[in-house]
Amino acid sequence: MRRIISVLMENEPGALSRVVGLFSQRGYNIESLTVAPTEDATLSRLTLTTIGDDHKIEQITKNLNKLIDVVKLVDLTEGSHIERELLLVKVRATGAQRDEVKRSVDIFRGQIVDVTSNMYTVQVSGTSEKLDAFLQALGEHTIMEVVRSGVSGIARGEKVLSV
């Protein structure tokens, strides 16, 4: 099962490599990973998605917790949560394709953020599934370049991950 694990860790050099190293060392899989400092400059928030059964996820969270740099973590998929991923895609857009692409962008509530005579650069955000669907809708032949941010997430309601 796919899980989103959100980690609050010390904003120290080497902290990220410990997290990534743990995954390769113990044979765990990372599907996506995103990390940035929080409003408290001494802390970073890292969100990763991984796939595994309950036993594996339990081991992953236990071993992450063992890392000295890790302050707190939560498996967002355990509860109700919001997840978002940002997609930037360069799409070939010439002739009739220009309107076609524009329509798809509107349907997926994306924005065209850059334009040339042959291309659109499109920004879409949402769940990973939605982004997959958008790319599928565009069709492979029109896509020139894709960049995705990886999943970020936050729990719904009043639950807060903080120190």
């Binding site: 050099p13 080497g14 490599s17 410990r18 190293g21 339990e58 000295i68 740099d69």
Partner: protein
């Protein structure tokens, strides 16, 4: 001294600060080897008196010596090496300590900060190299942070599940010119590190109820009981309940080896009675043990009818390979003493008649194939059997020596036949299985306990992996006994090749290339003694052990064809599937 804002503050260079912080942390002994990047630190060591430095002959030796010291004392072992090859040579010893959860702080010199990343002379990314085998590591960025880093390093290394911590110190940080105010922190606050303390009362209560309901209980105790100083409590618990106890390779000595409730070691080369009792148990109390693959054999077939109570200070060890029915996270000491309290005030008692039956069954297993009820090796020929060497040493040292070992058949024979009655006496590389560990570890133990008898049981293969430390023994006058069970082959490798590869001895024999160990020992200034015949074994061993002021290398020629038994059947075997001899299987 300088007056800063009205307070007297001492100004120290980074190098002096590091050494002073170690002193303030209570360190009085360092094992190490100097080199370019560590020279400022070495100069600071030269100019002080509180810390003794032992110069080893190879950085691996420094880590093993500090490890042996830590295992024998419970204190944190300290290592100092230089950058590059000094640091990488220490890696094997760090990994050894990591696998066995030994508290250790390794300080490595590093190239100057502005050279890091430039492939400078003797540069290696030590924090990166050691990352998978340390509990934590620090790269010191400026001198002012040294006192706090040292304090944190020792705190992390020695608390919770202990382990090695690396402090990588760039040379410029320790330069003698720049001086900074020194203050050793009195308290530490780490928001991201809270080692486990007391266990959950509800869980402990459940565990006690389950224990009391057991009809076929086994207490399975590991290295955590030794490291966590829980032996006395464990012994009290087992004796109060009259339940059988087995120890892992790392746990030997956690429960008295000569007590009748002790079933011997369990696992791959465990006793028939311990492995069979585990297989049939209905309740297993695992204390400070991690269900290692050398213990469980095939996990799916492990103890089919047992409910498992698992006490461990490391939550990640619980339900890793074997699911615990009653997990308890906490220190062995606090959980065991809570359990004892509850047992003392409990109205229930164990089911006495079931326990009597269980003991009757265990005694029957013991009688049939037990390791200690009859000699399980040949005692008629002229060949010396390795098992009887260990038994003789046990007798001569009255079972009270500190025994280190290397890795292989000699290690297993020692684990089986030197019955340890006290914790911290059996010092071996259990998790990583590091050949070359025994001799430097023995030197570390001897530094800690100069008056004690220290024996390194080794083989002609292992001893050659850190043989250079014979020179360290000379320099610091460390009179240990080196007992080499010489079977002229890599015995355990050969045993597997004979059992599983139709006897094809691929690269496990030396073809007449072994050194004359007697002359070798003498070349280092030690005594050498060769024992080749069975009838001279006892006499010569007694002679060797009577010598207290010299390092003695005892080269014992043992039967090269002997295998270690019992040996669990692999792959796909359960706990109780064992070879009992070359021809006998359960």
């Amino acid at each position: 001294m300088e007056d800063i804002e009205g307070a007297q503050v001492e100004l120290l260079s980074g190098g002096d600060m590091l050494v002073r912080a170690l002193q303030d942390e209570g360190v009085d002994l360092i094992f190490g080897y100097p080199g370019g990047s560590a020279l400022h630190i070495y100069d600071a060591i030269f100019r002080q008196k509180g810390i003794k430095h032992v110069l080893v002959r190879h950085e691996q030796g420094a880590t093993h010596a500090a490890d042996g010291y830590a295992r024998a004392t419970g204190k944190t072992g300290v290592v100092l090496v230089t950058s590059g090859p000094g640091a990488t040579n220490a890696i094997t010893g760090i990994a050894t300590a990591y696998m066995d959860s030994i508290p250790m702080v390794v300080i490595s010199g590093q190239v100057p900060t502005d050279k890091i990343g430039e492939d400078a002379f003797q540069e290696t990314d030590m924090v990166g190299c050691s990352r998978p085998i340390v509990k934590h590591s620090f790269l010191v960025k400026n001198a002012e942070e040294i006192p706090e880093v040292v304090k944190k390093a020792f705190y992390i290394a020695s608390t919770g599940r202990p382990g090695p911590v690396v402090i990588d110190v760039p040379k410029d940080v320790t330069n003698p010119v720049d001086r900074f105010p020194y203050k050793f922190p009195e308290k530490l606050r780490m928001r991201s590190y809270t080692p486990a303390g007391k266990g959950h009362t509800g869980q402990i209560r459940k565990a006690v109820a389950l224990l009391l309901s057991a009809k076929r209980p086994v207490i399975y105790a590991g290295g955590g009981v030794v490291q966590g100083d829980g032996s006395a409590l464990l012994t009290e618990l087992a004796q109060r309940l009259n339940y059988p106890v087995t120890n892992t390779l790392m746990g030997l000595g956690a429960y008295p080896g000569t007590d009748k409730r002790f079933l011997g070691m369990l696992g791959m080369h465990g006793t028939f009675e311990a492995n069979t009792a585990m297989h049939h148990a209905d309740v297993i109390l695992a204390v400070g043990a991690r269900f290692d693959d050398r213990v469980t054999n095939t996990p799916d077939k492990f103890c089919p009818s047992a409910k498992v109570i698992h006490i461990d200070v490391d939550p990640a060890s619980i339900s890793k390979t074997i699911t615990a029915d009653v997990p308890i996270v906490g220190t062995v000491q606090s959980v065991l003493s809570d359990m004892l309290e509850m047992l003392k005030s409990a109205d229930e008692m164990p089911d006495q008649s079931a326990i009597v039956d269980w003991w009757r069954q265990i005694d029957d297993w013991r009688e049939r194939h037990g390791l200690y009820t009859a000699p399980r090796f040949r005692t008629d020929g002229d060949m010396i059997m390795p098992q009887e060497v260990i038994r003789a040493v046990h007798e001569i040292t009255k079972g009270d020596a500190y025994v280190t070992s290397d890795v292989g058949q000699h290690q297993m024979f020692t684990a089986q036949y030197y019955l340890f009655d006290k914790p911290r006496r059996w010092i071996n590389s259990g998790g990583l299985g590091t050949m070359g560990f025994g001799l430097p570890a023995a030197l570390g133990v001897k530094m800690a306990h100069p008056e004690a008898e220290v024996v390194c049981v080794t083989g002609e293969g292992s001893i050659q992996m850190c043989i250079q430390e014979l020179s360290t023994a000379t320099q610091y006058h460390l009179p240990v006994k080196i007992l080499c069970l010489n079977n002229q082959a890599l015995g355990m490798v050969k045993q597997w090749q004979e059992m599983q590869y139709e006897g094809r001895l691929s690269n496990s024999v030396y073809e007449e290339s072994l050194p004359d160990f007697i002359k070798l020992a003498e070349a280092y200034g030690h005594l050498g003694m060769k024992i080749e015949h069975r009838d001279e074994l006892h006499g010569k061993l007694e002679e060797a052990f009577a010598i207290k002021d010299r390092t003695v290398f005892i080269d014992v020629y043992v039967d090269p064809s002997e295998h270690v038994y019992p040996m669990q059947v692999m792959p796909n075997g359960s706990m109780r599937d064992m070879w009992l001899s070359k021809t006998e299987r359960t």
